[in-house]
């Protein structure tokens, strides 16, 4: 049929299939970069993917956080003239811009979620006016270590701004032997507690590790 054209703009020698193919490749490329960035915060086994709805409920564990969907959106702007000038570096610029912004939003969400959980449980160390070494040991005291099913201890990760992290490491390294002994004792006790908890967990099964 031949209705007269009323499209607002002509599209010369366009290959929509090819354009879609390019855009799909760009999306995949961005996704792979984003995946690497997110892996810094979450291990694969701690990642749950949902297909329907928007929140996880834990009916057998009311204390567990429900989690939920949080929307992240970023956009990148490219000037027509830059395309016409054939600036190939636009690809890097665009990918970097998008992935850094996604990374930033994800990190922000992670820390605010952790912050909310700590505030809710009161699991907070007030470090104001306290030496860094004491604050560090108080922080370790507050954290429960975990042990995996093979009995391997998973030590906590410390996320801190780079300058604070450096100060903390320097302070702990320069601390007197008594402090280091105290830190070792706390770590050992925490590890032992983690192993005990793991043993208790396994004991809840009818049997564990025997065919």
């Amino acid at each position: 049929m031949c209705a007269l054209k009323n499209q607002p703009r002509n599209n010369y020698f366009s290959d929509q299939v090819a354009v879609q193919g390019f855009n799909l490749a760009l999306n995949k490329y961005l996704a792979s970069i984003q995946k690497k960035a997110f892996a810094q915060y979450l291990s694969h086994e701690n990642t749950l993917r949902l297909r329907h709805g928007d929140v996880w409920k834990h009916p057998a564990n009311p204390e567990a956080s429900d989690g939920g969907m949080k929307e992240h959106s970023v956009y990148s702007e490219t000037k027509f003239q830059d395309i016409v000038d054939h600036r190939l570096e636009l690809i890097d610029l665009c990918v970097t811009q998008l992935s850094e912004e996604m990374h930033r939003q994800f990190a922000q969400m992670m820390y605010s979620t952790v912050n909310e959980a700590c505030n809710r449980s009161g699991n907070i160390v007030e470090a104001k006016g306290m030496p860094l070494t004491d604050a560090f040991i108080s922080m370790i005291e507050k954290i429960s270590f975990s042990a995996d099913r093979n009995g391997e201890i998973r030590f906590p990760e410390v996320h801190a701004p780079p300058d604070l992290a450096k100060k903390m490491i320097d302070a702990v390294e320069a601390a007197p032997p008594e402090y280091k002994k105290r830190l070792e004792d706390v770590t050992e006790r925490k590890s032992k507690e983690a192993l005990e908890r793991e043993a208790e967990r396994k004991a809840k099964f009818l049997q564990y590790g025997e065919e």
Binding site: M1, A3, R9, N10, N11, V19, A25, F80, I83, I91
Partner: protein, 624 residues
Amino acid sequence: MRRLLSIGCNDYESLGNLTGAEADARRIFDTLLHPDIGGYDTERSRLLLSPSIAELRQAIAEVLFESSPIDTFTYFFAGHGGVRAGSFYMCVRDSRSDALSVTAQSLSDIFRSIGEAAPAQSNLIIDACESGGLIADLGALLKRDVIGNAGTPGITLIATSAQDQTAGETATGGLGTNAILDCIEGRDFINDSAAMLDLIEIGRRVSLRLRDSKQSPVVWGLNLSGPPRFCRNLGYLVDPSRPVRELIHAWPQVQHDAVNKHFEELWSIYTSINTDWDPRAFVTTVSNAIDPLANSPEVLCGAIERMAMAMQIRAEQSDDPFRPVEVCATLAVSLLPYLQHNSVQESARRLISVTSSSLVSSAQQFLKDLENDRYALLESRGGGLSDLYFLPLKISKMLGWIAGVGHLYRISGSANEDADRVFTHVLQHMLEQYSGSIQAMSDDQAPYWALALTNAIVLGLREEAEQLAGLLFYSLVSCRGQLACRNIPPEETLPYLIARQANNFDAIQDYVARPIETLAVMMRASVALDLAEIFDESLWKIDGLAFFAFLPSKYSKFGCDVIEDGQNLVWSIGQDVFRVSDFVRTWPDDSARPDSVEEAVIGIFSSLLFPDRVAWYCFDGLPV
């Protein structure tokens, strides 16, 4: 047997009355029954004025199914139309807007009846408000299970008012009907090359006429069954006393069989012209359909020209103004193997003429768009970064096609100032506004660069040609000649660009062209432009690069997917070529040339449509 059913409805029991519909139906009836114009059967044709739905259905049954087989069936309706649940209905006297399915005539039922009665050709003219709504129906209607025994797609339809519009009425009748009658009665010129007209030709003309009237006519049809036979062409000089039936020449059964056998494929390419354009699939389907007609060249030409008529109208629906050009050029390419017949040469000349004038218009449209929007060549639908790859390809295509028309006129021994002027302006615009994107990106661009550079040289645009050649050679050397290959998958174009930016192609080697034909084009152009010594200075930067030229032994197969006869000549920088002169010296002077003007022109079309072949003869006459 030619039969007409003409219906006009002024009086409605539950819808608003109209004033001119009955007059329109009567005028169409009188004109088409005139023995010197339509020649429709006076006894079996029917005129219905404000009928009830029962009367209309009875008339359809009588006209279509009583007595002898029907050669041509024409259905005209003027009155109210309506769309319900995606179906189009024609309203008659007792139709109710809340019960259209049982009180009005659906278009799909008409199609089914036509399918059952199986006239050789059927024409439907609908001049009604909301008749544009029948667009939604057509996709479902034109399937074999609906058309049934009609077999060949011999149905043409014109609807002269779009959805949500009212069919304009004037003191002398509906705008659409007036426009159609002007064509039938010879007041509006269609052509002077055929004794009979097809409704689709009339529809095309009516579309142009009504463009400014705020109506959007729908013209649809893939009528490949026999020659045009809707009505006599009063613009064709023939003895006016000859009755219409003598002017209709039946085509042999082999034509019906060929079209019928390839009905699904032809229908498929027809419907996808304005969306998923694939010239290779198109030419393959058309070639398969016409090949059985090789022994009847006149019939073969008729079939191609019927296709051209329908396909071009379909192509005009695309948002790419070059689509009708490509469609016509592709049909011309399918004639390439049969050019030894005089009638095919004549037909090819007509197609070439349509293609070239359409090409000049499309180029002028592009120039206009470019003047209004300097980014007119960028993708309008979510292109984004993809244009970093595709824009250079579009630039080469644009320059190649527009240069092609210049070559075409020169080969034909004529000049066309419009063609030369538009090429000059487009080239200058490209160099001024798009110079950054004038890039040798893919080896698919080689034939376009060849045509553009040679046309610029012939037109005396030396400065522009030097600039173009310089930009291309620089981009080629910058990426060390690692151009994308011709069949690079779309999803690999991003990795290719990333590799190109890093100038490290290790990860994308499968999609780098090797050898390339673009360098051979550059070298030949450099000689004509006296740039060879400048190019020589940079050849060390592409040390090791292999390049080639394919020269066919004859051009009758130049449109084939794989051209079997010919020679692939290959050279390597740093092995047998250290200077441009080493290449030029070994270029064969005795390579084959096209056998005729038509073959040469269609050869250029082939290289534009299928850019894995360069029409090297476009360099003929330039300094070597």
